[in-house]
Symmetry: C2
Subunit: 449 residues, 2 copies
């Protein structure tokens, strides 16, 4: 890892060059580098925690002066129970994943002695822009090395001391391995994000990890493809045949198990015929967990009639903007819809293509919902909070993408790969094929992988 | 198909809405629509050819006044031998391809009664911007319907009459099918490309089909992902162990079988140790086909010594810009390199990531070249002109992509797909899983597809 005060463009150029070597390394060479990083971080623990303590001290001071939020200060702390161990374990977990490089996904015999294969390969150079949490740097470096991608890392300034200490350890480790040192670049100079976002000749993919504002800013400021999501506006459609207890459980989990997460529920659509039967049970369960409901007229009327008046203080009138709002808190927008068609149309118009669910006893309606809703995740009778790389069994997660191309939903190592077509011939020329006398035909025989 | 004089944003909005229906149609419904389009075009043949004749007449007039090139006029002509039949056959060919929608590519049992599947689905709304050739509209409409994507088509103004006639026939056909009419929108109003490129809330992918200038302009003018290639700067590295006859055949095919194609050879890199042995044979064969060589000092010196002086007029001094030039004509840049490392470095620095080849007898060097060169196609002892969807056996081709994400190389129907994750549960909630007493663990059992 290079800890660079070089210009962004020099850092990116050197990452590009390193990426061409990294792409050719064997699985064992890449895994050895992860082992070396792991050992090197263990050896440097004291230095890293001391650096982190300096970051933390500065952040606490800034927080006292109101320049930084307490939650950000808390996310900085590498000394927090389990955090250091989790960071180290994460490196070995990534090392243990299936090698994503060099997988053959298509093999076709074009003609005798002429074979086409499609082989997975790294994308090239990733630019990863992230905010405070210092442990992310080790996680990202591991993912990059495992997937054969070079990476340029730009972290939040609050963690600078921690980043520098960690990157020194990673750099020392890489020096003993086949992974070129330039493959992982930490950029610590300030205010360089606009310059980095301009380097589309070197950088192939930008992955922002941080607040909606960060992601939105990046998406609007670069021609380089961006993998990620700005919004997570997840919806559930409560259909009238759903089991009431199940519905309450799933909706409570979706809304309250981690309200600040992008896969949390923000809008509940209730079928009109379920307003008196299902909604009261669900609303009571939500209110018991501290959720404030922003209801349209129909759902509010139904609830006012059914619920004891002392809890109706938790019910407020919805504004139309509520149905386009990612609350990230214990607030939920609630709306009545006539049927599944209206629910689907609402979600396709107001959702963020992240994760949406239907609760119903009808498998026909469930399948209709899942094929009609345009989102990375479409669920039947399950919490939206399952949208997560670890829960999906991917072993690791780069982030969750709401993009419509390349990778969608929780993105694991596979999402950091592209492919190339290889042809192995024996001097074959295209002019030999075609219609007419003496011309050959392609065989196009699918071969086993 | 809607033939719209609506605003670009109304057209795009209506395509988006139609895309949500199109995405849910069965394979047979989509195939039936292709059958209907095919019949409708046959029935409207006279009208369409009459409209095309009017376009042609106007274009000939413009060409006489020097406002249009003769080659463009020729590409307009639907009456040219075989063109109409090819257009019709293309629709049935696309209909006959494997259904790309709804393929299950991952199935995982997360827990008892909780299953995750990854299913291919259409991307959504494609914006396809193309130049003169009027038959492209039928081809694109077929690809869109087959892949379940809505499409907005913006053609060159020279073909307007033909487009309108074809789109009327397609529109009449779709009216009798389940494919919503708004799924295919032809925009004929002028000067709307900048407005269309701005509609990232409706349009998911832009596919330009036309000149380098068109593609480059589009890539630099939109935040919507663009699938395609601006340049096709293909290189061959001639290694000293290559068979001379084979090398000459492959290089001649790569350069001369269709010099204006994007997969044609533009730069020949010759190993220094092969300057006296292989290069003269290759150069003679190229010059016999009318190729002009732009040589660096080393290759020129070697050729001057070996070749008869009367053909040395075909050898010119290379300028450094030649190694970054897509000639698209019978001109070839030639350069000596010390070894495979220099060849790889040259290609990774100057190439366009389209298709590059090595000619060698060494399988070790071939594998090294193919893993080190960062391009969509990397070939060993085969012509670069094999880079083509039909030749690869894809049945059809949307274009060739030099992108680093999503789709690379010749793009068939598969490149127009993305996927969604479906979870089918029985009321499962995430809070039930984790560490600690009473908590469950994920099973993450890979299931057969």
């Amino acid at each position: 890892m290079s800890l660079t005060n070089a210009s962004p463009s020099e850092a990116a150029k050197s990452a590009k060059e390193a990426s061409h070597i990294l792409a050719t390394l064997s699985e064992s060479a890449r895994n050895d580098a992860l082992t070396a990083i792991h050992s090197s971080l263990i050896a440097a623990k004291n230095d890293i925690l001391a650096a982190n303590a300096r970051d933390l001290e500065a952040a606490r001071l800034a927080a006292e002066h109101g320049q930084l939020s307490q939650s950000l200060v808390s996310r900085l702390d590498l000394g927090k129970k389990g955090k250091w161990e989790d960071m180290l374990k994460g490196i070995l977990d990534v090392r243990g994943l299936d090698d994503p490089v060099g997988k053959i996904t298509l093999r076709t015999k074009l003609d005798d002695g002429l074979e086409l294969t499609r082989v997975t390969c790294p994308i090239g150079v990733l630019l990863i822009i992230f905010e405070a949490r210092p442990e992310v740097i080790a996680n990202i470096a591991s993912l990059a090395v495992k997937s054969g991608n070079a990476a340029i890392l730009k972290g939040g300034k609050e963690s600078t001391e921690s980043f520098i200490a960690i990157s020194k350890a990673i750099s020392a480790a890489l020096d003993k391995t086949e992974v070129p040192n330039g493959a992982i670049q930490l950029v610590t100079t300030r205010d360089v994000i606009p310059q980095l976002l301009d380097l589309d000749q070197y950088i192939d993919l930008v992955i922002p990890r941080g607040s909606n504002e960060l992601v939105r800013y990046i998406k609007s400021s670069t021609k380089i493809p961006v993998l990620g999501h700005a919004d997570g506006l997840c919806s559930i459609f409560l259909e009238h045949s759903a089991d009431p207890r199940m519905a309450a459980d799933v909706i409570v989990d979706s809304k309250t198990s981690y309200p600040a997460a992008c896969n949390s529920l923000e809008t509940l659509l209730v079928q009109e015929s379920a307003l008196d039967t299902l909604l009261p049970t669900v609303a009571e369960a939500l209110i018991a967990k501290g959720v404030v409901l922003h209801c349209d007229t129909k759902t509010k009327t139904a609830l006012s009639a059914k619920l004891p008046s002392d809890i109706s203080t938790k019910i407020e009138d919805a504004q139309s903007a509520d149905y386009d709002t990612e609350f990230l808190s214990l607030t939920l927008a609630v709306k009545a819809v006539a049927d599944i068609h209206e629910a689907i149309a609402h979600i396709n118009a107001h959702g963020s293509k992240h994760t949406d669910a239907i609760l119903t006893s009808s498998s026909d309606l469930a399948e209709q919902f899942m094929s009609s809703v345009d989102a990375a995740g479409v669920y039947w009778n399950a919490s939206t909070r399952f949208a997560d790389g670890m829960r999906y069994g991917f072993g690791t997660e780069v982030g969750i993408s709401t993009n419509k191309i390349h990778s969608r939903g929780p993105v694991g190592l596979e999402g950091l790969m592209i492919y190339k077509y290889k042809i192995r011939g024996q001097g074959h020329v295209t002019a030999a094929y075609g219609e007419g006398e003496g011309k050959k035909s392609y065989k196009h025989e699918r071969l086993p992988l």
